[in-house]
Amino acid sequence: MSLRHILTEVFLSLGVTLLLLAAVGVVVLRDVFDRLHLSGLAAVGALCTAVAIVIEKSFSLVGDEALLAAVVLVVVSPVATHAIGRAARIADREDWRIGDDEQIEIEDSG
């Protein structure tokens, strides 16, 4: 068992674990805005899996394009997250900005 196989399995299991955590979190968390955090976690899991593929296959057809797909996911998932959060706010209360009846509570830990 070479170092390459060990590194591949480490990154693959890390990626799969992150993706599974994201999938479980979708059911565990309660709010839309809590659930929106998870697509970023899933994108990092995709990046770990792509790194595992690159280590296994080096920079071949499969390795290159897996890395491309993962980087596209990492770059693009915040955009989708922002759009969904904004749409949820607008569907809820007409405008996404903070209204006069809301106030932001800041916990003072000091």
Binding site: L20, V24, V26, V27, A69, S77, I84, A87
Partner: protein, 83 residues
């Protein structure tokens, strides 16, 4: 059974909670669950490509990655207009 096939099977289990929230949650939550499920699909296509050693199939993952974001944006736009 190699490591990649095992990883694919484990990833397929991850669809169950996403499907549950898509069916039972409110509409914005279903959209968030859909975006997590699309990331799962991209990774599943990558691992299945390596598991069955069919290199050209990696294109499916490359194409699905931007397409899923476009789909989420379209759904979000309809969600804004729904009220």
């Amino acid at each position: 059974m190699n490591v990649w096939l095992a990883a694919s099977l484990v990833l397929a289990v991850g669809f169950v909670p996403c499907l549950w929230v898509c069916l039972r949650g409110d509409l914005p939550s279903a959209l968030a669950a859909l975006s997590v499920a699309s990331v799962l699909t991209v990774v599943l296509l990558m691992t299945l490509t390596v598991a069955f050693s069919r290199p050209p199939f990696i294109e499916l993952a490359v194409v699905l990655a931007p397409m899923s974001m476009i789909g989420s944006l379209a759904f979000a736009r309809f969600l804004e207009r729904r009220r």
